[in-house]
């Protein structure tokens, strides 16, 4: 059966990278006695695929993975078994059975939504002005790994949230398609905010219908 699991990744697990997360899920499923299907060949690989890599250091309440199991299980059963077998900073938010022939998960991601909390006080009005200026620009040329690219079309949404208490934070939705992925820290850089003074959380992955 093909199972789609939505999960959160918080706390210490923010510092576990994509490949390690793969391994973590393989072990968690094994601990839960859920038999994973493996590819054929000399080095069999577990049939687990994560929708979109989450950059190191970011939290998430919307990670998605597909796994193929050798047997069928009721989804509630899978969910309760996994509860016991995952480290405390990963929580299963949803389990559903998916059509075996559905296209690969990674090909279906369109964009990702983030919330950015600022750990240092900031001038809200000034930030709002910068956000507006950024969103008004035709293009925002930036350099990454020696290549220039235009950040602007990758930003689908960017807004400043001001709470009644005066606390200010950011919300953004960035493209996350193959070859066109917006990175929150690039947006923060463009707003003159140092990423180490923020806490970023992915809140949603947006898939093709």
């Amino acid at each position: 059966m093909r199972v789609r699991i939505t999960f959160s990744k918080q706390g210490a697990l923010r510092y576990t990278g994509h490949l390690d997360l793969h391994r973590l899920w393989e072990r968690a499923l094994r601990r839960a006695d859920l038999p994973i299907s493996y590819s054929q060949g000399f080095h069999p690989q577990p049939k687990i695929s994560l929708a979109a890599a989450l950059p190191l250091g970011f939290a998430s309440r919307a990670e998605v993975l597909d796994v193929r199991l050798n047997e069928d299980f009721p989804v509630e059963d899978i969910s309760s078994r996994l509860k016991e077998s995952l480290p405390p900073d990963i929580q299963v938010l949803g389990v559903e059975s998916v059509d075996e022939r559905a296209p690969a998960l990674q090909t279906q991601v369109l964009s990702a939504a983030y919330e950015v909390y600022l750990t240092e006080p900031i001038d809200g009005a000034e930030l709002t002005r910068k956000v507006e200026a950024l969103m008004m620009s035709e293009s925002v040329i930036r350099e990454r790994r020696g290549k220039t690219y235009d950040l602007r079309p990758l930003i689908e949404m960017l807004s400043v949230v001001t709470e009644a208490s005066g606390k200010v934070w950011l919300r953004m939705t960035l493209a996350a398609r193959d070859g066109a992925t917006g990175r929150p820290e690039e947006v923060l850089n463009a707003l003159d905010i140092l990423p180490e003074y923020t806490r970023v959380e992915r809140t949603r992955l947006i898939f093709q219908k």
């Binding site: 706390g11 210490a12 697990l13 923010r14 510092y15 576990t16 990278g17 490949l19 390690d20 391994r23 973590l24 393989e26 072990r27 968690a28 499923l29 094994r30 601990r31 190191l56 250091g57 077998s85 995952l86 480290p87 405390p88 900073d89 750990t119 990423p195 180490e196 003074y197 806490r199």
Partner: protein, 638 residues
């Protein structure tokens, strides 16, 4: 002092700037986080090397479980931060903290170091410093944690005597509870009072209660207590019966060196190889039952999800029910994706059968440890394996589908000559030639040739280390002759690494100043190539007017008092000396399961043995009844 929240906030600012930040955040499955305020005694357990190496250490895992099983105590873990992290922690004022609760180490009542090997010493100093705790015991007061240390290298605790408040000599499972009890009982008392109570525990050595005097030639005259109520000699602690093995292994969220479950099947070794410190200091041999091992392995594999299981002991083939164990393991784990390791097998074809039953991945290579290649040398070190056995076994290994054989040797054994080293070359070439006959040109050999360091509490404690020139010449011979063959891989130890190991393991109390200065000169991670070796250590010797060669290249007099004379692993000095004499005459001592040679274990632990008769121990039963004390003791104060 920073609160855990402040530590976490500061961490978030630096963690993305270091390699593998997952090392520094904890949150692993099976790690234990208890209520900080409810635990009366808090222990930070430290493996003084990086997380990647330390997290799978079984010794520390045992202590972690022992302490956390108590309602009144908690144990958390810390490891040495790698160079990049240390730099940022110092820059941002982050003290070393534990992974579970992020409390700075200085908030704990006890800091317990495991020191399994000597090259961790400078890291231990660095960790204390990173924790904001005075590095020298003498500079600490009641506001600081009690610093304890245990592990194999503490069989000679003297080089570290100035930094550690109390050493636990021998096995830790029981003594750790005694230590926690004393800390609890003496809370709020003067440090001196706590230390005096600790010194009363069997197996605990409080170095500040002893003083060493030296002879004119620089050797030790005597190390003796300076207080009336501390023991003249500190005997190691052992457990009569091995407690149930840990089954809830910590599962790291990042890749580390060993992602595996380890189950100790047996402790101690009866072989009596004269170079082997572990074999001498972990006596008596105690075995776990097949049932206990298999059940623990199963529970641990289920609780961890690891792909690998290691059945640990110093000499697997000597485990009495090794065939039954291998059958039971292969049956229990049939059809599950699990690699089973059974290290330290004897060089005989039965070992190949055992590995075959475990369905070992043949890609991994098959490891054997002949240690020496000439008959003379094998007699000297008391590991006598005829060439033919090695050839027959390796031929069998190749013919059954393993393409790589790993052979471990040592050079620098006492009285070794170039001919003995040439014998290693000849043997390796023969192994490959014979292998090619049965399995063709694909066969490979990996020769790991380390350098022998004579260790305290072994029959070779009297001998000198081989000189640097000799070692270089011997290594050159090996390289010249073995590296020509593309099928042979050779690895060796750098002479400066062996020297450092020798200074630290054989040193006296004066070495403490050298260690301190070397650390000040930048020495840390001495087990790594990144460590600063000669530029840190040689000036440190010079600074304190000590000659490095005094510790390494000097044959000890037969009546010499060793720096570790007042610490004993219960194997008598007389026995070790007799064994040393036998080695000089090329005499072999057989496995002591066949014949007890009265090494000293039984008289020391007669009561324990009497209470635990039969198969559990491999020493003979103690028949005599316990001596009754029928003197009436006067009641004090009457």
């Amino acid at each position: 002092m920073l609160t855990p929240e402040q530590v976490e906030l500061k961490l978030d600012r630096i963690l993305l700037k270091v390699q593998k930040p997952g090392r520094y955040v904890g949150g692993e499955l099976n790690s234990i986080r208890k209520d900080w305020d409810k635990a009366q005694t808090k222990v930070a357990l430290v493996f003084p090397d990086i997380y990647d190496i330390g997290v799978s250490n079984v010794g520390l895992k045992i202590l972690y479980d022992q302490i956390n099983q108590r309602d009144d105590a908690l144990a958390e873990r810390a490891y040495a931060p790698w160079l990049d992290m240390e730099e940022l922690m110092r820059e941002h004022g982050i003290p070393l903290y534990t992974l579970e609760s992020k409390h700075p180490l200085a908030c704990f009542d006890i800091i317990g170091f495991t020191l399994p090997y000597e090259t961790l010493y400078t890291n231990a100093l660095n960790i204390l410093n990173l924790a904001g705790i005075p590095v020298r015991s003498a500079d600490r007061d009641e506001s600081h944690p009690i610093i304890i240390a245990g592990g194999h290298s503490t069989t000679n605790p003297e080089p570290m005597h100035a930094f550690i408040d109390a050493f636990t000599i021998g096995e830790g499972e029981e003594v750790i509870h005694d230590v926690v009890n004393v800390i609890q009982k003496t809370k709020g008392a003067k440090r001196e009072v706590t230390l005096r109570e600790l010194a009363k525990i069997s197996g605990v050595y409080v170095p500040s209660f002893y003083a060493t005097t030296y002879m004119d030639d620089g050797t030790v005259a005597v190390t003796e207590p300076i207080l009336p109520d501390v023991p003249k000699t500190v005997n190691k602690r052992i457990v009569a019966k091995l407690p149930p093995p840990p089954t809830k292994f910590i599962v790291p969220n990042i890749e580390v060196i060993h992602n595996r479950v380890s189950v100790e099947i047996m402790r101690g070794c009866t072989r009596g190889c004269r170079f082997c410190q572990a074999g001498m200091i972990t006596r008596p041999v105690r075995e776990r039952t097949v049932q206990e091992v298999v059940d623990a392995a199963d529970a641990a594999v289920r609780a961890s999800g690891f792909e690998e299981l290691a059945l640990m002991s110093l000499s697997s083939s000597d485990y009495t029910y090794i065939n039954d164990l291998v059958d039971a393991i292969s049956k229990r784990f049939e059809g599950r994706k699990l690699t089973v390791n059974l290290p330290s097998l004897r060089i005989e074809s039965v070992s190949v059968d055992l590995m075959e039953k475990l369905k070992q991945h043949r890609s991994g290579g098959f490891t054997l440890a002949p240690e020496a290649a000439s008959e003379r040398m094998r007699r000297i070190i008391n590991k006598f394996i005829p060439d033919e056995d090695i050839i027959n076994t390796t031929r069998e290994i190749y013919s059954r589908g393993w393409t790589t054989v790993k052979l471990y040797f040592m050079i620098g054994h006492p009285s070794e000559t170039l001919e003995d080293v040439q014998a290693i070359v000849d043997l390796c070439k023969r192994v490959i030639e014979e292998g090619r006959k049965v399995a063709g040109w694909k066969v490979k050999l990996h020769a790991g040739v380390s350098t022998f360091v004579p260790k305290p509490q072994t029959p070779f404690q009297w001998v000198a280390c081989d000189t640097r020139e000799n070692i270089l010449e011997k290594q050159a011979l090996l390289k010249r002759q073995l590296l020509k063959d593309k099928s042979i891989k050779l690895s060796w130890t750098k002479p400066e690494d062996s020297l450092l190991e020798a200074w630290l393991s054989r040193g006296d109390r004066r070495m403490a100043d050298v260690i301190y200065s070397a650390w000040k000169n930048g020495a840390k991670f001495d087990a790594w190539d990144e460590g600063k070796k000669s530029e840190a250590w040689l000036p440190a010797f010079e600074e304190h007017g000590l000659d490095p060669a005094f510790y390494t290249h000097r044959q000890r007099r037969t009546d010499e008092v060793f720096p570790w004379e007042h610490i004993t692993a219960a194997v008598r000095k007389n026995f070790l000396f007799q064994d040393f004499r036998m080695s000089l005459e090329g005499q072999i001592r057989v496995d002591c399961r066949l014949n007890c040679f009265a090494c000293g274990i039984l008289p020391t632990f007669a009561n324990l043995r009497r209470e635990n008769p039969g198969e559990g121990w491999k020493c003979p039963d103690v028949k005599t009844p316990a001596r009754k004390i029928d003197i009436e003791l006067p009641v004090v104060g009457d």
